[in-house]
C-alpha cells in the first residue's frame, strides 16, 4: 500500500512540475517571440472606437510602449509559474486564464508595434466567433452530463445551417427558418439518441454516422437545390440589436462589443447562464449529473435513466441547431458548402478544456474565438507578423490538441460518459 501511495504522490508531483514548467515556457515564449524586431521607441496604438456606428463619446486610443508592456506581461506569468512550482495552486483554471490572456495581449501589442490596431474590433469579433463554439460546447455538455458522448455537434450545426436558409427562403419567414434550425438539430439528436441509447451503438460511431450523413446530405442538396434554384439561397440575416435599438450601439465600448452583434450571441450568453444554473442548482441538473456519474444508483432511486438521456440529447440537439443558425442567419446569411469547417469539433475541445462546465466552456470558447478573430484581423497586420497565414489557420487546431493533452491539468469527465445503460 505504501509503495502505491508513494507512486501516486510522485506522479502527482511530476504532473505538478510539468504544469509549472509549461507556464515557465509560456513566459519564456512571450519574452523571446514578442521582443523580436521591436525598437525601444516603438509604441502600439489600440483603437477603442468602432467605425461601424457613430458613438456618443469618442474615446482616445490606447497608446502603450511595446517593450515594457511585453516585459510586464512576461513577468506576471513568470511569477505565477514560480509560485506554482513552490506552492502549487489547487485549481489551475484561472492560472491558465491569466497565462493565455498575457500571451495574447503581448502578441497583440507586438503585432501592432509602431502602428495602430482596433482593439474593440478584435474583441467584438472574438465574442461573435466564440458564439458557435460556445453553443456547440453547451450542446455537448447537455449530452455528456447524462453520459452520452456527442461528437455529432458538427453535423447537427451544418444541417441546421442548411435548413435555416432553405426554410427562411422557401417560406419567406426568417422566424420559421430559425425554428427549422432548432428542429433539425433536434431530429438529428433524436436519431443519435435512438442509436446510442436504444440500440446501444458505440456513441462515437453513432456520432460519426450523423456527421458523415450531414456532410453528404448538405453537399448533395446544396448542389441539387441551392445551386440549381438560387432563389432558395438568398441572403437572410437576423437584424443586429443595434439596428433594432440604435441608441444601444452608441454606448462607447459596450455598444460595439455587445450590441453590434446578432441576437444569437445574446441567446448564447443567456443559455450559458441558464444551463450553468440548471445543471448545478436544480433538481433536473442533479438528476442529469447523477445519470452521468452513476446511472445504476440513479435508477435505484427511481430516476428514469433512459428518459433523462433522451431529453438531454434532444435538448442538446436544439442548442446545436441554434449554433447552426449562427453560421447563416447570424452571420453571412447564405448557406455555403461545409461552412461549419470543424467548429463542432473545436466545441468538443472547448467542452473538455472547460472541464464539462458551461462557464469553463465559455472561457475556452472565448480563447478559440479570439484565435479565429486574429486570423481575420491579422490579415491587415500580415507584414508585421511575417508568419504564413496557413500557420495562423492551424492555431486553433493546435491549441485544441495541446488542451486535450492535458498539459494544463487533468480534466474530470462524467464517470459513465460513453457507456450505454442496461437496465437489469
Amino acid at each position: 500500500m505504501t509503495t502505491f501511495a508513494q507512486t501516486l504522490a510522485r506522479s502527482n508531483f511530476l504532473a505538478q512540475k510539468r504544469r509549472s514548467a509549461f507556464y515557465l515556457l509560456v513566459a519564456l515564449a512571450i519574452l523571446t517571440l514578442f521582443t523580436r524586431e521591436v525598437k525601444p521607441e516603438h509604441m502600439a496604438t489600440l483603437g477603442l472606437n468602432t467605425t461601424r456606428s457613430v458613438q456618443w463619446v469618442k474615446l482616445p486610443d490606447l497608446v502603450v510602449p511595446v517593450l515594457p508592456t511585453v516585459w510586464v506581461l512576461a513577468t506576471i506569468v513568470l511569477v505565477l509559474a514560480l509560485w506554482d512550482l513552490l506552492r502549487p495552486f489547487r485549481r489551475g483554471g484561472w492560472l491558465l486564464g491569466i497565462a493565455s490572456f498575457s500571451f495574447l495581449a503581448a502578441f497583440l501589442v507586438w503585432a501592432a508595434r509602431g502602428t495602430s490596431f482596433s482593439l474593440i474590433g478584435i474583441l467584438s469579433a472574438s465574442l461573435q466567433l466564440a458564439t458557435p463554439i460556445l453553443l456547440g460546447a453547451l450542446a455537448a455538455i447537455l449530452c455528456e452530463r447524462s453520459a452520452v458522448i456527442n461528437i455529432a455537434v458538427e453535423g447537427m450545426m451544418l444541417s441546421a445551417a442548411f435548413t435555416s436558409v432553405f426554410v427562411a427562403n422557401a417560406t419567406g419567414s426568417i422566424g420559421l427558418g430559425f425554428l427549422a434550425a432548432l428542429v433539425t438539430g433536434a431530429i438529428l439528436a433524436a436519431w443519435h439518441a435512438v442509436l446510442s441509447i436504444q440500440f446501444k451503438v458505440n456513441q462515437i460511431i453513432s456520432g460519426t454516422v450523423i456527421n458523415i450523413f450531414a456532410t453528404g446530405l448538405t453537399n448533395f442538396l446544396n448542389q441539387r437545390i441551392m445551386q440549381e434554384y438560387t432563389q432558395f439561397n438568398n441572403e437572410v440575416t437576423l437584424p443586429y440589436l443595434s439596428q433594432l435599438v440604435p441608441d444601444l450601439g452608441k454606448i462607447p465600448i459596450v455598444g460595439p462589443l455587445l450590441f453590434d452583434q446578432t441576437p444569437i450571441v445574446w441567446l448564447g450568453l443567456i443559455l450559458l447562464v441558464v444551463i450553468q444554473v440548471m445543471l448545478f442548482h436544480t433538481r433536473w441538473g442533479l438528476r442529469t449529473r447523477a445519470v452521468g456519474e452513476h446511472p445504476r444508483a440513479a435508477d435505484t432511486l427511481g430516476i428514469n435513466v433512459f428518459r433523462v438521456r433522451y431529453t438531454n440529447v434532444i435538448l442538446g440537439g436544439v442548442v446545436a441547431g441554434l449554433g447552426g443558425a449562427y453560421f447563416t442567419l447570424g452571420s453571412v446569411g447564405r448557406f455555403d458548402k461545409l461552412m461549419t469547417s470543424g467548429r463542432g469539433f473545436i466545441a468538443m475541445a472547448a467542452m473538455i478544456f472547460g472541464n464539462w462546465t458551461p462557464t469553463g466552456a465559455f472561457a475556452s470558447s472565448l480563447i478559440f474565438g479570439f484565435a479565429d478573430a486574429l486570423q481575420v484581423k491579422l490579415q491587415i497586420l500580415i507584414g508585421q507578423v511575417n508568419i504564413p497565414y496557413e500557420f495562423l489557420l492551424m492555431l486553433p487546431y493546435l491549441v485544441t490538441m495541446i488542451a486535450l493533452a492535458g498539459v494544463v491539468g487533468r480534466v474530470q469527465m462524467p464517470a459513465a460518459d460513453g457507456q450505454p445503460y442496461e437496465k437489469q
Binding site: 462515437i204 454516422v209 458523415i212 448533395f220 500557420f391 460518459d417
Partner: protein, 415 residues
C-alpha cells in the same frame, strides 16, 4: 464497449453466406434509403407526386424514370457503355487494333484505379480498429504522405527506378506514420482521445499542404486555379500496365500485397497479436504484460503509414504531382469501408473494390443524371449505421439467426 451481438460463432454452420448477410443487407438497405433522397430532391418527381392522386400512372412513371436514369448511369459508369464495348470488341477481332478497345474498357479499369487508395486507407482504419483505435484522420495522413512522396519524387534525380520508386513510396509511408504517431503518442501518454486529435491533425495537414503548395513546393510558372507541385521524375512512377488512356497501375497490385502483409502481421505475428489483445481487452492485455501505450503508438503509426500509402500511390501512379484537393475524401470514406469490411484485411479489399466501383460509377451519375457525387456519403452513413447496429437489419429482415460480425472497439474520452 463492444458492438457484437453475440460471441457465438454462427458462421460455422451458416458458412460464407451468413458472414456476408449483414454487409450485403446493410448495403442494400442503404441504397434503398438513399434512393429516397434522390427522388425527394428531384423536381420532376416531386411535381408528378403532387398530382399523384389524379394521375398515379404518371407519378409512378416519373419515379421509375428517375431511378432508372440514376442507376442506369451508375451502371454505365461502372461497366462502360455495352454498345460501345461490343462494337470495339468486334472491331478488334476483325482488325487487331487495340486502340478502340482501351477506350471502351476505360470505365471498367477505372474501378480498380479508384479502389487502390481505398484499399490502403481502409486497411489503415481497420488496423486501428484491431487495436481499439478510431483513426478518423486518414484523409490528413493521405495528404501528408502524398506531400512527402511528391517531394522525394521530384527532388531526387538520376536514380534507377528500382531504388527511386520504393524510396518515394517509403517516404510517404514514413511521413504518415509520423503524423498519426503524434495522435498515438498523445493517446498513450496523455490519454487524449484519438478521434479529436486525428481530426485536428487533418485540419493542420490541409493547411500545411496549402502552405507547401503556395510556398516551398510551388511549381514555377503554374498559374492554374488549383495550386500544384512540380511533376515527379519518371523513375518514381508506378508503371501503368495497359496502353493509354487506361490508368490502371501497379499500385493496385502493391495494395493487394500490402493487404496480405497486414493480414499476416495482425493474425500471424506476435506484434499483431499484442495489438489485437490491446484492442480486445486492454485490462487483460496489461495483466499479460503487454504495454498498452507502446501498442497504441505502434498501431497508430502503422495505421498512418497505410493511409499515407494511399496518398503516395495516387502521386506515383495517377497524378504524378501533388495537387490541392486531389483526394475526393478517400480517407473519410475509408471509415465506412473498414466497418463494412469488418476490420479484416480481406473484408477491406472486398469493400474497397465495392467503394471504388461505387465512386467511379457515381461520377457518371453526376455527369449523366445530374445526381451529385455526394450521394456516396449518404450511402456510407447508412452503411455504417446498419453495420454498427445489426439489430436494425435483423428486425427489418426478420433474420432468425443471430448475425455475428467483427466487434469494433473504441473507448470514451478517458482512454
Amino acid at each position: 464497449m463492444q458492438i457484437a451481438d453475440t460471441d457465438r460463432p454462427m458462421w460455422r454452420w451458416q458458412g460464407a453466406l451468413g458472414v456476408l448477410a449483414l454487409p450485403a443487407l446493410s448495403l442494400f438497405s442503404a441504397l434503398v434509403l438513399s434512393s429516397i433522397f434522390i427522388l425527394g430532391s428531384d423536381v420532376v418527381v416531386l411535381t408528378a407526386l403532387r398530382n399523384g392522386l389524379s394521375d398515379p400512372g404518371r407519378a409512378l412513371f416519373a419515379v421509375g424514370k428517375a431511378l432508372a436514369d440514376a442507376y442506369g448511369s451508375l451502371f454505365i459508369g461502372i461497366f462502360g457503355d455495352p454498345a460501345r464495348i461490343s462494337k470495339e470488341v468486334s472491331e478488334f477481332l476483325a482488325t487487331g487494333d487495340t486502340q478502340g478497345l482501351t477506350v471502351a474498357f476505360y470505365p471498367f479499369a477505372e474501378n480498380f484505379v479508384t479502389a487502390t487508395p481505398y484499399i490502403f486507407a481502409g486497411l489503415a482504419v481497420a488496423l486501428g480498429f484491431q487495436c481499439g483505435l478510431f483513426n478518423i484522420g486518414a484523409e490528413g495522413q493521405i495528404y501528408v504522405g502524398a506531400a512527402a512522396a511528391a517531394f522525394v519524387g521530384y527532388s531526387l534525380e538520376g536514380l534507377p527506378w528500382i531504388v527511386h520508386a520504393p524510396l518515394t513510396f517509403l517516404a510517404g509511408a514514413l511521413a504518415g506514420a509520423f503524423w498519426a504517431g503524434i495522435a498515438g503518442f498523445l493517446k498513450a501518454t496523455r490519454g487524449a482521445h484519438e478521434v479529436i486529435n486525428t481530426m485536428m491533425l487533418n485540419y493542420v495537414a490541409f493547411n500545411l499542404v496549402h502552405y507547401l503548395l503556395n510556398g516551398p513546393m510551388k511549381r514555377g510558372g503554374a498559374s492554374g486555379a488549383i495550386p500544384i507541385s512540380r511533376n515527379i521524375v519518371e523513375s518514381a512512377y508506378l508503371p501503368t500496365l495497359f496502353p493509354e488512356p487506361i490508368r490502371f497501375h501497379a499500385g493496385f497490385l502493391v495494395a493487394l500485397l500490402v493487404a496480405v502483409l497486414v493480414w499476416w502481421f495482425l493474425f500471424k505475428s506476435t506484434l499483431g497479436f499484442e495489438i489485437r489483445s490491446v484492442g480486445a481487452n486492454p485490462h487483460a492485455a496489461r495483466c499479460a504484460g503487454i504495454s498498452i501505450a507502446r501498442n497504441f503508438v505502434l498501431a497508430m503509426a502503422l495505421s498512418g503509414a497505410l493511409a499515407a500509402m494511399a496518398g503516395a500511390g495516387e502521386v506515383m501512379g495517377v497524378n504524378h504531382n501533388l495537387a490541392e484537393g486531389f483526394s475526393p475524401g478517400y480517407g473519410f470514406d475509408s471509415i465506412a469501408l473498414a466497418m463494412l469490411g469488418g476490420g479484416h484485411p480481406l473484408g477491406v479489399v472486398l469493400a474497397a473494390l465495392l467503394f471504388g466501383t461505387l465512386r467511379n460509377g457515381a461520377t457518371k451519375m453526376q455527369s449523366l443524371a445530374a445526381i451529385p457525387i455526394d450521394i456516396v456519403a449518404i450511402v456510407q452513413a447508412f452503411v455504417i449505421m446498419f453495420v454498427a447496429a445489426p439489430i436494425i437489419i435483423r428486425r427489418l429482415y426478420r433474420l432468425k439467426a443471430e448475425v455475428r460480425w467483427q466487434a469494433i472497439l473504441t473507448r470514451g474520452w478517458g482512454g
